[in-house]
Amino acid sequence: DTAVSQTPKYLVTQMGNDKSIKCEQNLGHDTMYWYKQDSKKFLKIMFSYNNKELIINETVPNRFSPKSPDKAHLNLHINSLELGDSAVYFCASSRGQSYGYTFGSGTRLTVV
């Protein structure tokens, strides 16, 4: 059983398009996150949800909109994609930031 599953694994799209990435966890964790990993492998938090409520919204362009329909799901919708959005996006879950995170396998987004 996959603990944190993300789809799709790869996403190649043209500039200006809108795309979504889905994430689901079956660990019963209360908190879910979206992280962006750039080409230098730097992991930067984008959003955090706790029990469906938005807790953290870093300085992310408002073209990025997370949605959490329930505490097991956290999706990421991106409008008007730009070249600079190309990166690997990781979903993660945990019991809280004082506990280890479980990451999904990542979505490699390439904007052309």
């Binding site: 492998k41 992991l43 938090i45 955090s48 930031q97 004082s98 506990y99 280890g100 995170y101 479980t102």
Partner: protein, 113 residues
């Protein structure tokens, strides 16, 4: 804001040599976590250290949390090709479930067989 710095950024070693990566935080941490990301993979949680001066071992890996709880290290004894990957330290900000983990830039380890 809070920063977590890691050195070195890259390390190439011959198989069998030892390896150490160092992590420094600009603020005192309640805990420090370590993750490993294999090439093409995702970060995997290795361990969490909580107490000042704590030392934990996992087979050939030794993790240490500094006395001031602002720095940490990961030491691998007699590296193997399976140790290849990027090692990240991470420290929390905030408290309870309202905070977030700040990750270091990572140390990428290459092991030559």
């Amino acid at each position: 804001g809070q920063q977590v710095m890691q050195i070195p950024q890259y390390q190439h070693v011959q198989e069998g040599e030892d390896f150490t990566t160092y992590c420094n935080s600009s603020t005192t941490l309640s805990n420090i976590q370590w993750y490993k990301q294999r090439p093409g993979g995702h970060p995997v949680f290795l361990i969490q250290l909580v107490k000042s001066g704590e030392v934990k071992k996992q087979k050939r890996l030794t993790f240490q949390f500094g006395e001031a709880k602002k720095n940490s290290s990961l030491h691998i004894t007699a590296t193997q090709t399976t140790d290849v990957g990027t090692y990240f330290c991470a420290g929390p900000t905030g408290s309870g479930n309202t905070g977030k983990l700040i990750f270091g830039q990572g140390t990428t380890l290459q092991v030559k067989p």
